[in-house]
Each structure stands twice: as structure tokens, then as C-alpha cells.
Symmetry: C2
Subunit: 143 residues, 2 copies
Amino acid sequence: MERALIEAAAAAARGEVPVGAVVTDATGAVLAAAGNEVEARNDPTAHAEILALRAAAARLGSPRLPDCTLTVTLEPCPMCAQAASFFRVKRIVFGAYDPKGGGVEHGARIFAAPSCHHVPEIVGGVRETDSATLLRAFFSARR
Amino acid sequence: MERALIEAAAAAARGEVPVGAVVTDATGAVLAAAGNEVEARNDPTAHAEILALRAAAARLGSPRLPDCTLTVTLEPCPMCAQAASFFRVKRIVFGAYDPKGGGVEHGARIFAAPSCHHVPEIVGGVRETDSATLLRAFFSARR
């Protein structure tokens, strides 16, 4: 999560909503890390999770990441939660809960749908305060 | 939908699950069209909808497509439905219903979540039989 927080802070410095994500393998080694790039790419699908998952899969040369953990500073949205399921990640660890935009513990609750083919282990609230503080500082500076 | 069906058939010919998508503007002009490229890219997020939406946004130089229609041969999955919401498409027209993997009328029902910030108009079942026939032929040939 430390590395994900660093990615989130770097995203904020680029004017992006501060969310960072890391994909690690079974030994804990970092396969890929990314911050949000929605503004830079003009692409609302360029969430940190999608970028990190895609980079990890490219690195392994496989569309499946069954031994991997996705660690992200904010509860994934429904798009990213479904993507993590498609990539078959073993575990998702996230920081702050996101009642407005989250899709794991809130909203569409992607993994609760009986038709969801792969449900990762979920650990939420890890360094929640650090993640939320980054987000709050970013949005309060914009107002 | 005719163009989306052509993209789906082209995807099947490449060994991809036959799903095609088109983004059109307010005049009905095609901004982008794509078929599924999951196998070619080794990327489970390379669904036809995501590729077409991203290409349309790149073409317009805008991450929002508020006057646009996404037409796709199969009911979008939760990932693509959420992406279409992020791109602010006006309307989604889809072909076959997908009880196993769909996320509009089935499963996570993305647009039914109160926290979904943008809900497009939805028209399902357009040339449903043509879409479903392509999919059935593809999967029966694989068995």
C-alpha cells in the first residue's frame, strides 16, 4: 500500500484525482504500479487499477493473474472491480471506502452478483486515513 | 447495428468471441467501430465497447460523448456498462441479452445502482437473433 500511496500522490501532482494501484505477485514483488491518468489520456477508463492490471498482464504475457494481489488506495469502481475479476486476481486490498463511486462494498457490488464468475478475496480499509487524506486535500484545493 | 454485426463477424474470423461495437454521433455518423480484441491483445479489458468508446473519445478530443450512441451486438458486461456511463453516452443500443455475463439487465445491473452518476437510455434486443446466431456458431465450432 505504501507504493500505491506514492502513486496516488504522484497522480495528484499531475492534476489527477489521487488514486494509485499496484499489482504484486505471490512473493510480494511489484509487477506493475500506476496512478490515475484520466486527465492526461483524456480517457475515463484510465483508472490506476486498469493501467496496473494491464501492465502486469503484459509483463507476464498472460491475461490472467491468479496469484496476484491488486492493491489500490480507493475502493474500486464497478468498472475496475469487474476488470479485476476478468484478470482473475487472487486478492484486492484497498484503502478508503468510496460510498459514492465504489463498486465493491457499495453501489453495484460487483462481486455480490451471482453471475460474477471470479470473486477475489477482499480486504478494505488498509491505511484508509492516508488514502482519504490525499483525496480530501486534492478536492479541497480545487474548490 | 449492421456495422456492429460486421465487426462481430470480423472478430469471430480472428478467433475472438464475436462482439462488435460502434459509436455514432447525433447525426448517426460513425465515430468509431471495433470488434473484441481480448485474445489479440492478451487483455480481458479489450472488449469491443471499451475500444470503440476510447477511439471515439480520441477522435473527438474529449473524454465525454454526451450526444453519442453506443451500439453493441451483446448486452454490455458490468465493466463496459460502467465505462459507457463514465463516457456519458446518451444511449446504449444492444443486440442479444446476456444472462450470464451482462451487467445492464442482468447481474450487477450497473445503471440500477442509485450511485450511478449517469444513466444512458437503453434499447435492448435489436437484431437479437443475428447477434446470438454469431455467438452460438462461434462457441459450437469451438466445442
